[in-house]
């Protein structure tokens, strides 16, 4: 297998175990409702196309930006369409009895989902990956992605994006969200090597 192809495969595997663990955590928060996940897509996204990662750049979403450090560093973005958030809250067993601000619930949800994703990546390498406290915004999807990329150290015009989606059935339609991981280019190489060392021993 070619080096580049192999790298993409490792990242895809990382995305699969990551979103799998995140979905398990989300399901448990939503009273064991079934959470469906997509096969991750790993892409090199040019900066000029980054605003379209979510589809419509103007779609209003509730997004949590979670920078993380450790053997692998980068940014994670967890997002839900704004109308899905309240439905998710209804599905949470405690939401009914807890009168609480939506942002606070979403922040905790993002913390658990992103951390669960990182926990899975940690188990692939044995490294500790430390997420920071989620920073939440409710605005256009394109603006979120653009702002997250601007906060990262970029040395060229594209970003490696591990894009995963999840959904659950709510009434008549699917409620979907997204978890995007943008690893720092500098730390990606070491991560790939560590995974190789763990898996190919």
């Amino acid at each position: 297998m070619e080096a580049r192809e192999w790298q993409l495969d490792v990242l895809k595997e990382a995305g699969t175990v990551g979103i799998g663990n995140a979905a398990k955590a989300l399901s448990s928060m939503l009273c064991d409702r079934m959470v469906y996940v997509s096969v991750p897509s790993v892409r090199f996204v040019p900066l000029s196309e980054a605003a379209w990662i979510w589809g419509d750049p103007e779609a209003i979403i509730l997004a949590a930006y979670v920078p993380f450090t450790g053997g692998l560093s980068g940014s994670a973005v967890f997002g839900l369409p704004e109308d899905a958030v309240r439905t998710f809250m209804r599905f949470m067993s405690l939401a009914a009895e807890v009168e609480c601000e939506m942002y606070s619930i979403f922040t905790e949800m993002a913390n658990i989902v992103v951390t669960s994703y990182l926990n899975a990546l940690s188990s692939m390498t044995g490294w500790v990956l430390r997420p920071s406290v989620p920073r939440v915004a409710e605005t256009m999807a394109g603006a979120v992605i653009e702002s997250v990329l601007a906060l990262m150290e970029h040395t060229n015009d594209s970003a490696t994006v591990i894009d995963t989606t999840f959904s659950l059935e709510g009434g008549h339609r699917l409620l979907g969200g997204r978890l995007i991981l943008v690893p720092d280019k500098m730390s990606l190489c070491g991560f790939l090597q560590a995974v190789e060392a763990t898996y190919c021993r």
Partner: protein
């Protein structure tokens, strides 16, 4: 009417009639330079403030003319001159420079603010007057600039709207 989408890092120019659009602008700045006499306008969708220091060697590998504020303003200026604008009559309008994640104890770097400041500095150095600007806030914007009206319309999602 022709609507040109100006994506992150890009520069586009229109003349006589049309619309320049930047969708979902966050910490970026959508800068428009226009010549009311000749009805030429160009938009730059600026991503980061500086091509030097902070982002080492970034410029060397960037093929995006509007990636950095300090070089984008000059590039945009040159682009509209090429399409018939006159050196004397150029004016500027801009929107963007938000800090979406401002709630975090001010610990996050405010790229939006730095972008706005870098653009203003470059404009003043070139002697280009700013006739309208809406910068900052914690929300994204879609920015449209129309010819021949020379109005900039800003939509922020929800119900916040502005025209400058």
């Amino acid at each position: 009417m022709i609507e040109e989408i100006v994506r992150t890092g890009e520069i586009k120019v229109i003349s006589r009639e049309g619309c320049l659009t930047a969708l979902g602008v966050g910490s970026c700045v959508a800068l428009v330079l226009y010549d009311p006499g000749r009805l030429v306008a160009g938009m730059a969708h600026i991503f980061l403030p500086f091509s030097g220091n902070g982002h080492k060697s970034a410029m060397a590998s960037s093929f995006l003319p509007a990636k950095f504020a300090d070089t984008a303003v000059e590039a945009l200026h040159a682009a509209i001159l090429k399409c018939g604008a006159s050196t004397g009559g150029i004016l500027a309008k801009m929107a963007g420079g938000a800090n979406l994640f401002d709630s975090f104890q001010g610990q996050a770097l405010d790229v939006g603010k730095l972008n706005g400041e870098a653009v203003k500095k470059a404009l003043s150095e070139m002697g280009i007057p700013v006739t309208g600007a809406t910068l900052g806030g914690n929300f994204g914007r879609t920015v449209r600039f129309y010819l021949p009206s020379m109005r900039m319309k800003i939509v922020c999602g929800f119900s916040r709207e502005a025209s400058i």
